[in-house]
């Protein structure tokens, strides 16, 4: 064999090792994703224990003194690699019966967005579980406070007056950054309350 062919073999082996590494990491990353997602307990938003505080003067227009919530959640990284760049986006919609003042007398449901925010969380090492709280304060609600209906717009005969629904979007990178994953779950009923 000519000496120049030996150098070629070295490069070929390097390419083989690299390709094998990326393929193995990709495969194990996919396998990890299956392991994480196959167990519903691994990603848990504890909507049963959500703490939602709403304090308002039911005048026209409505005066909101305080609004905040705390949602406990846990994330178990059951895979082979660290879970990085974890970010949870959270949107809340308010569903209520809207009094029909101008139409044929039938009230109808109305749905308005009252919260849209996202929070980043630290890296979760492989095999570890992260227990955290997703919190939203009055300032996080920001401009969406204007979307709350006025008192005379709500059909208070219905019970409950308000239902809160949430959309979660969870984004993260996995497999040493090779895979970017986004998981979205829509229309989860998280809370309900009445004016009176």
């Amino acid at each position: 064999m000519r000496p120049s062919r030996v150098f070629r073999w070295i490069i070929r082996i390097l390419i083989l090792v690299l390709t094998l590494s990326v393929t193995a990491v990709s495969f194990l990353g996919g396998f990890s994703a299956i392991m994480i997602l196959s167990n519903p307990d691994n990603i848990g938003f504890d909507t049963d224990n959500i703490e939602f505080n709403f304090d308002a003067n039911w005048t026209t227009p409505i005066e909101i003194n305080n609004i905040n919530f705390t949602l406990p959640f846990n994330f178990t990284n059951a895979g082979y690699f660290d879970l990085e760049d974890l970010k949870v986006s959270f949107q809340i919609g308010l569903l209520y019966w809207h009094v029909n003042l101008t139409g044929d007398g039938l009230n109808k449901t109305n749905f308005v967005k009252i919260y849209d925010n996202s929070t980043s969380f630290p890296t979760i090492k492989k095999g570890k579980t992260y227990y955290g709280n997703y919190t939203g304060t009055k300032s996080d609600f920001g401009n969406f406070l204007g979307n709350f209906p006025d008192y005379d717009e709500i059909d208070v005969i219905k019970d409950p007056d308000f239902e809160l629904y949430a959309n979660f979007t969870l984004s993260l990178t996995y497999s040493l950054g090779l895979h970017s994953i986004r998981l979205g779950i829509y229309n989860i009923s998280i809370y309900e309350f009445s004016v009176t």
């Binding site: 590494s21 193995a24 990491v25 082979y80 040493l176 950054g177 090779l178």
Partner: protein, 123 residues
């Protein structure tokens, strides 16, 4: 499970070590590939004819070149100078011309007196 974990650690370590280099090269690759694709998209994305023509040209020229110059013997056209190459390498082989040969059959006999091929005696 344990075995896969070890595998993940080994391949992960290789990848973490080489990823910064490989990834930046990958970004450079993406740049020139994107530019080339953009050029193709702007100029040659209307019909397949040009690609079919390229395919046919490659096949036909491949056949013709193989017939003219198959590689294992001097070609019918481009054989000029090959004799020189052969002469050059034959010189390099350094085969001595004064090997003793059998006087009857011409077989190389070296130092032996009797030809191993025809049995003739060579003094």
């Amino acid at each position: 499970m344990g075995f896969l974990e070890i595998l993940a650690d080994i391949f992960g370590a290789i990848l973490i070590f080489l990823k910064p280099i490989v990834e930046s090269i990958g970004e450079w690759m993406v740049d020139w590939i994107s530019a080339s694709m953009e050029f193709l998209k702007q100029n040659f994305s209307s019909e397949l004819t040009i690609y079919i023509v390229i395919f046919i040209i490659l096949i036909v020229s491949g056949v013709i070149i193989n017939i003219i110059w198959p590689g294992d013997r001097p070609g019918t056209i481009f054989s000029k100078g090959l004799d020189k190459i052969e002469e050059k390498f034959e010189e390099k082989l350094d085969i001595p011309n004064d090997i003793r040969r059998c006087k009857d059959c011409g077989n190389p006999i070296g130092d032996s007196r009797v030809c191993p091929l025809c049995g003739a005696e060579n003094d």
